[in-house]
């Protein structure tokens, strides 16, 4: 019988909506203290459900409660629990669990987390067994994760029924301390064997600074900003440099609030954004797509939660990018991974991406 392993980092991504750019160290505690919850459980359930009816096809091996058992049961599986973990769990639990699953060995290890989790998995199993990540982290640079939980489940099922080859995916991670200070430097931490497929996300390409220093894009944004409207400006160097041209010194990696060309608040948490939106006015959102990966929502901008995006509405979302960044997506659509499958469907379609002062590209998002 086919053996499937499952490991969940139960706090993955919790720092995102809190604007903490990660969930390492004390960040998770801080975010949990502010009332934010990790979506790792629900995203893992989504992935498992997407595997389709496989009841007797394989046996699922995992660890107690938040490490996989809860998600597996919620998705209708009867897992074999290999061990129990303390609460809260630590990276050591991930490493220990991964090593045990590799010793079994399982035919595929599904794991939920972000770049930090991928590092733990890589150090524990190396290239001993095939793995696939369910994206749950704040930012994901590694090319060992599927584009969305849904696609992780589908790809896992395809792989287990044979026919999908394996490739070496890259595990990359940032120094979160440096990242919080606004520095983006990814380091290579090793390789993992992942099923090769269009559903696996690419490595993030860093720094698409517009060739003209952002002047053209800043003109485009200025033209689009409605007088008096509350504008949310998402993270990324594209928007950061364009805003600098407008005299707005926002945050490189956070979501800022702007009105009439003036910065109201830098680097907001999800709660702060929601309070600002609750004042009732119709807001606009400016976001950029992640270079190389093509993710629009769900990586590095979890502050823009499903409830925030719903409130803003698709018609008020403006995507900003350089033409080069779109070209480098190699004709793959932009990816929507808000954590809410229904919202992903609602937001799908073509966007008029602002690429220059008087130029847009009609580009699809899925």
């Amino acid at each position: 019988m086919i053996r499937l392993g499952l490991l969940v980092n139960p706090i993955a991504g919790v720092g995102g909506p809190a604007g903490l750019k990660g969930s390492d160290g004390t960040a998770a505690e801080q975010a949990l203290g502010q009332g934010y919850v990790s979506l790792a459980q629900s995203r893992t359930v989504q992935a498992l459900r997407a595997m389709g009816p496989l009841e007797d096809a394989f046996q699922l091996y995992t660890f107690s409660r938040g490490m996989g058992e809860d998600a597996a049961r919620a998705a209708g599986f009867s897992p074999i629990v290999l061990g129990t973990c303390g609460e809260p769990t630590t990276f050591q639990d991930t490493r220990r669990g991964a090593a045990l699953l590799a010793d079994l060995p399982v035919d595929l290890l599904l794991f939920s987390g972000g770049d930090g989790t991928a590092r733990d998995i890589a150090s524990a199993v190396g290239e001993r067994i095939p793995v696939l990540g369910i994206p749950c982290g704040v930012k994901i640079h590694s090319s060992v994760y599927a584009l969305t939980p849904q696609r992780a489940g589908e790809l896992a099922a395809r792989y287990l029924s044979g026919g999908v080859p394996l490739v070496l995916g890259e595990v990359l991670d940032l120094d979160e301390e440096a990242f919080r200070r606004g520095q983006v430097q990814a380091q290579f931490y090793g390789g993992l064997l992942v099923p090769k497929d269009g559903a696996v996300q690419h490595t993030k390409s860093a720094g698409y600074t517009p060739g003209d220093g952002g002047e053209g894009l800043s003109q485009a944004i200025r033209r689009e900003m409605r007088p008096g409207a509350l504008c949310l400006v998402g993270p990324g160097s594209t928007l950061y440099t364009a805003c600098k041209w407008m005299g707005i010194h926002g945050s490189l990696l956070g979501v800022d609030l702007v009105r009439d060309g003036c910065l109201l608040q830098r680097d907001c948490t999800e709660h702060q954004l929601y309070r600002a939106l609750e004042e009732g006015e119709q807001a606009q959102l400016f976001v950029t797509v992640i270079g190389g990966q093509g993710v629009l929502f769900g990586r590095g901008n979890q502050q823009l939660s499903p409830q925030i995006l719903r409130r803003i509405g698709q018609e008020n979302i403006r995507v900003v990018s350089t033409k080069e960044k779109l070209a480098d997506l190699r004709l793959r659509p932009m990816t929507l991974d808000t954590g809410d499958p229904e919202l992903n469907r609602d937001l799908a379609g073509y966007y008029r991406v602002l690429v220059g002062p008087c130029e847009t590209v009609l580009y699809p998002a899925k």
Binding site: K323, E324, L326, A327, D328, R330, L331, G349, Y350, R352, V355, G356, C358, E359, T360, V361, L362, Y363, P364
Partner: protein, 516 residues
């Protein structure tokens, strides 16, 4: 046969301004006879005082023999279309330019031709221009043509101007402020539209490599002024559904402009008219065999349907059954696009080309261009490390965009490296892609109809050799060129960064002084 021992001339040739000596002359002009001076005055007197320079210009001072040597040496350091197999320069349609055409443009009547000549003395060339326009009407199916633009993008711009004038005349000039184009159409299209003040909407290809029709459905609106599109695009993929795109734009009141700069795979096979287009343009310096490159002079022939004729630029060339003459284009014309009447020498070569080939011959041009390209692709795609992305297995027309992505991943050697290495084999530097590049490590060859099977085999052999080198000794390819006129690699920033680019002697002197 692979030319493994190629070595281009390499001269340590100073800039012309650094040569010669003070007072040295190439030509000593004889003084005018006293009788002439008495009637006409001196040259000095002929120039109005306000236009006279106070100081003589700093021109090179050099004798004829030294000058001839200078230019001959420079010519030895270029790889022109007559010297090599120029298959690499795709989208440029580097076909053979018949030498007999040069005899025509070197006729005294052509060399001495002056735009201020009385029309009665230039009936011959006017007839050539007029009939060329008539032939282009038949080739495209358009109702009116002019040969005024000095290049392809100028003709594109003229088409945009006509589109704007048409919408204005219908009271929709303000409302229609958007132009739709595709990422794989020549950048001259969005460039011309933006220059004319339009907002540009760009479509990317769909998963089959064709412009995304779904995106076009989202793009069209009452604000649409028009669609500017190429078919086939640089990928060489002919879009069979082009009529649907055109009809969609027409359904919202927009016009459709067909960029036919490269018409080589379409002669006698498909016309702008049947695809429903309102306007098109041809680069006579591409498919119509006038020499291409060196930044001109070229000729962009502009064609439109009947309803747009009143808006064409002027002057208009007319024929009353006996006499050819220039006439006012009418009150709705967009005015002038080029000084005088365009470049008649280019049009004359195109005229000779059309006349010598005839309708059947032109059709054969397209057939052979497609055949040559597909023969080339069959062989190229077997080379290790190269691939043909977008619509694999679908036949291309006259050109294709290949990719060295696999080779780059496996060896670290990039398309740019190969582009420099090909020079060591005696072939001209090739064309990678327009920007932005949606195909990684691109290379766009075009084996036009005038290359023989042996030529194509030679070219492919060189590419095979370079691929082998890349896998066996990547540093060799990365360090190229070794046998070109340049011994070393150029820092390309000096060509692409406006802050570093120097185009005049004076600017060069200034920069040198600053650096010292």
């Amino acid at each position: 046969m692979l030319k493994g021992r190629f070595q281009e001339a390499r001269w340590e040739e100073p800039i012309l301004m650094e040569q010669g000596s003070r007072g040295e002359r190439g030509i000593l002009m004889p003084a005018p006879e006293p009788e002439v001076v008495q009637v006409a005055g001196t040259v000095h007197d002929l120039i109005p005082a306000g236009l006279r320079r106070r100081q003589a210009p700093k021109l090179p001072e050099i004798s004829q023999m030294q000058l001839a040597r200078h230019y001959l040496r420079l010519s030895q350091e270029t790889i022109g279309a007559d010297l090599n197999i120029d298959i690499g320069l795709g989208t440029c349609t580097m076909k053979y330019n018949p030498k007999v055409h040069e005899t025509l443009v070197r006729m005294e009547e052509m060399q001495e031709l002056h735009p201020y000549q009385d029309e009665d003395t230039v009936q011959g060339i006017l007839q050539v221009l007029y009939e060329t326009q008539e032939y282009l009407k038949a080739i495209s199916g358009m109702d009116a043509f002019n040969l005024l633009a000095g290049g392809g993008t100028q003709a594109i711009y003229s088409n945009v101007q006509v589109m704007r004038a048409y919408h204005r005349a219908n009271g929709q000039g303000e409302q229609r402020d958007e132009v739709i184009t595709t990422i794989l159409s020549h950048p001259g299209n969005p460039g011309a539209a933006a220059t004319a003040g339009y907002k540009v909407i760009t479509l990317f290809p769909d998963e089959n490599g064709y412009p995304d029709l779904e995106a076009l459905r989202k793009a069209v609106s009452p604000r649409t002024a028009g669609l500017m599109i190429t078919n086939p695009e640089d990928t060489g993929l002919y879009n069979r559904r082009i009529r649907e795109y055109v009809d969609l734009v027409h359904s919202v009141g927009g016009l459709c402009i067909y960029d036919q700069a490269n018409q080589n795979g379409l002669f006698g096979i498909a016309r702008a008219r049947e695809a429903g287009f309102d306007m098109c343009h041809y680069n006579l310096h591409k498919s119509f065999a006038s020499p291409h490159g060196s930044q001109g002079p070229g000729c962009g022939a502009q064609g439109v349907v009947k309803k747009l004729e009143p808006f064409l630029p002027g002057p208009k060339l007319a024929f009353d059954g006996e006499r050819y003459f220039w006439t006012d284009p009418g009150p709705q014309s967009v005015g002038k696009i080029h000084k005088f009447y365009g470049v008649p020498q280019v049009a004359l070569r195109a005229y000779a080309y059309i006349r010598s080939l005839g309708a059947k011959g032109l059709r054969q041009v397209a057939d052979l261009a497609i055949l040559n390209n597909n023969y080339l692709l069959e062989k190229m795609t077997k080379i290790r490390g190269i691939s043909l992305p977008l619509a694999p297995g679908v036949r291309r027309l006259e050109q294709a965009r290949l990719s060295w992505e696999d080779l780059t991943r496996e060896t670290g050697v990039t398309s740019d490296d190969i582009d420099r290495r090909i020079v060591d084999y005696g072939f001209q530097s090739y064309f990678s892609s327009h920007h932005p590049q949606i195909i990684p490590e691109p290379f766009t060859p075009e084996a036009v109809e005038t290359y023989s099977k042996a030529d194509i085999d030679d070219y492919v052999q060189a590419m095979e050799a370079i691929s082998r080198e890349a896998y066996e000794n990547p540093d060799l390819v990365k360090g190229a060129p070794y046998h070109g006129a340049l011994a070393s690699q150029i820092d390309t920033r000096y060509l692409t960064d406006p802050k570093l680019l120097i185009t005049t002697w004076r600017a060069y002197q200034k920069r040198k002084a600053q650096e010292e």
